[in-house]
């Protein structure tokens, strides 16, 4: 049938109207909501193959965790189907995560040279579910196909090993430590060296040394995202982290009540002082769903996290309900997003991961001209 039609087209002098240009102009109506530009001028549309009236192409996003991936694919299909005499449309959604944190020759190059983004997960005070958020954020990003590492920088209270159960770290043949995998995520923690029940008793300068080692002597390899679980507060370790590694952005975790929000302000102010962009605020323990009546109980008041995000002009990434299953999963060493992917808390964490990935892409767009790192060696003869 189509053969006859193409013969007719040839005889009647009709031009095949499908060309790379017509495809691109059809797709240029589709905007990336985060970057505020169309997907053609952003260079997302790639590998266009036209076979007769059938077309095949890739849309290459800035992160596999893109929350609007499916919507964008549907939009693209719809736009292409409007082209005259279009045949089958095959769109392949791909992603290349943007970013680079370390340059060759810098002291962190061996360790972080192939790491694209470093994300700090922090809170102004302890006990708000920061480690749980860091762990679930890491596994939610990994579930989308990203390469993820998780660094537990809470030297005095390392909880990541308990929540993920990695193997013992090994030394690689270079002078680096290979981080062990736990469920597909590379994990590093002082807890892997000290043993779970032993206390870390160290003075400040020693702790700084350990943190520096985690950033300079661990073979992180190729990663899209390295999530750092910060210790609570605004002290020595936080400063060392932000001074040693170029942190792409920070996620600030809080519970809804005012007392916790005071500390959020401090954490946001700290990142602001060190010019680390705040990717957004996550509110944990937002509500409890009663198993008897299915009603949401806002135990620690409602809307604190979104209020504080608005105050600082940063994104509100989402609220995570208080769910006993999250604690059970953590204690079993399987993060909630893996153990119960369908639960309300897990869905929240996945949404938050999508929001974080979007914010990271926005930051790369904003800082595409900035030097992440530099060294100028003075020339006295100049």
């Amino acid at each position: 049938m189509s053969l006859i039609k193409s013969m007719q087209d040839k005889i009647l002098g009709r031009q095949n109207t499908i060309s790379e240009d017509s495809i691109k102009s059809a797709l240029s109506s589709i905007m990336d909501p985060d970057l505020g530009r169309d997907i053609v001028s952003l260079g997302f549309v790639r590998n266009i193959v036209i076979t007769g009236n059938d077309i095949k192409l890739d849309i290459n996003l800035t992160t596999p965790a893109c929350p609007v991936k499916d919507a964008m694919k549907a939009q693209a299909e719809e736009a292409l189907k409007k082209l005259p005499s279009i045949g089958a449309v095959t769109i392949n959604m791909t992603a290349t995560t943007r970013g680079q944190v370390a340059l060759a020759g810098s002291p962190i190059a061996a360790s972080l040279g192939q790491v694209k983004n470093i994300i700090a997960v922090a809170s102004g005070k302890g006990g708000v579910g920061k480690s749980t958020t860091a762990v679930n954020l890491a596994y939610a990003l990994a579930a989308t196909g990203s390469k993820v590492g998780l660094l537990d920088a809470d030297v005095y209270g390392p909880s990541v090993p308990h929540m993920t159960r990695p193997d013992a770290p090994m030394q690689s043949n270079s002078n680096l430590i290979n981080p062990p995998f736990a469920g597909g995520v590379k994990v590093m923690s002082i807890g892997l060296f000290a043993g779970g029940d032993k206390a870390t008793i160290l003075r400040g300068p020693m702790v700084s040394g350990v943190i520096k080692q985690f950033l300079t002597q661990v073979n992180w390899g190729e990663l899209d995202y390295l999530i750092i679980d910060y210790p609570p507060g605004t002290g020595d370790i936080q400063l060392t982290l932000s001074q040693t590694a170029p942190i792409t952005g920070a996620v600030v975790v809080t519970t809804p009540q005012d007392v916790a929000l005071i500390d959020v302000r401090k954490a946001v102010a700290m990142f602001d002082t060190m010019k680390v962009p705040v990717l957004g605020v996550v509110e944990t323990m937002s509500y409890f769903v009663c198993d008897g009546c299915d009603k949401k109980h806002y135990i620690f008041r409602e809307g604190g996290g979104s209020k504080v995000a608005k105050e600082f002009g940063v994104s509100f990434l989402g609220e995570v309900p208080l769910e006993p299953a999250v604690a059970t999963a953590s204690d079993k060493g399987v993060p909630a997003v893996k153990a119960n992917p369908g639960s309300a808390a897990s869905r929240s964490y996945c949404e938050i991961a999508g929001g974080v990935a979007s914010q990271v892409s926005i930051i790369h767009e904003a800082y595409k001209d900035a030097l992440n790192q530099f060294t100028v060696v003075w020339n006295n003869d100049l």
Partner: protein, 111 residues
């Protein structure tokens, strides 16, 4: 202070370094991400070192007597610190100053 901080987040991304290089024997040049350019006399930077042994942490009085810094002092190396500052290792052995981008912008009368 808090208000100022919140302003920075609201006003979008903070200014960072786009390019940095040595201009001549004693001048460091920086082009910022907003395309404004600054030039710094390196001897002047050494005399304005913001570290705790040059500026009293509590009174903010200058402890360093600027006239004691020789005109012949030069950087050996300039390194980035996180994404908010740079540090300079000087030929007189001093290297503890962290020059924030905000401070450097202020020194060259930029916002």
């Amino acid at each position: 202070m808090n208000n100022q901080n919140s302003m920075t987040q609201k006003n979008g991304p903070a200014v960072r370094v786009k390019s940095i290089s040595q201009i001549d024997g004693r001048t460091l040049g920086i082009t910022w991400t907003d395309d404004k350019a600054s030039r710094f006399d390196v001897v002047d930077l050494r005399r304005k070192c913001p570290c705790a042994s040059c500026i009293d942490e509590w009174t903010h009085e200058q402890i360093l007597k600027p006239e004691t810094v020789q005109d012949s002092v030069r950087p050996m190396k300039v390194d980035s610190v996180g994404q908010y500052a740079l540090s300079i290792q000087f030929s007189d052995g001093h290297k503890t100053g962290i020059y924030t981008f905000a401070m450097l912008r202020k020194l060259s009368h930029l916002n």
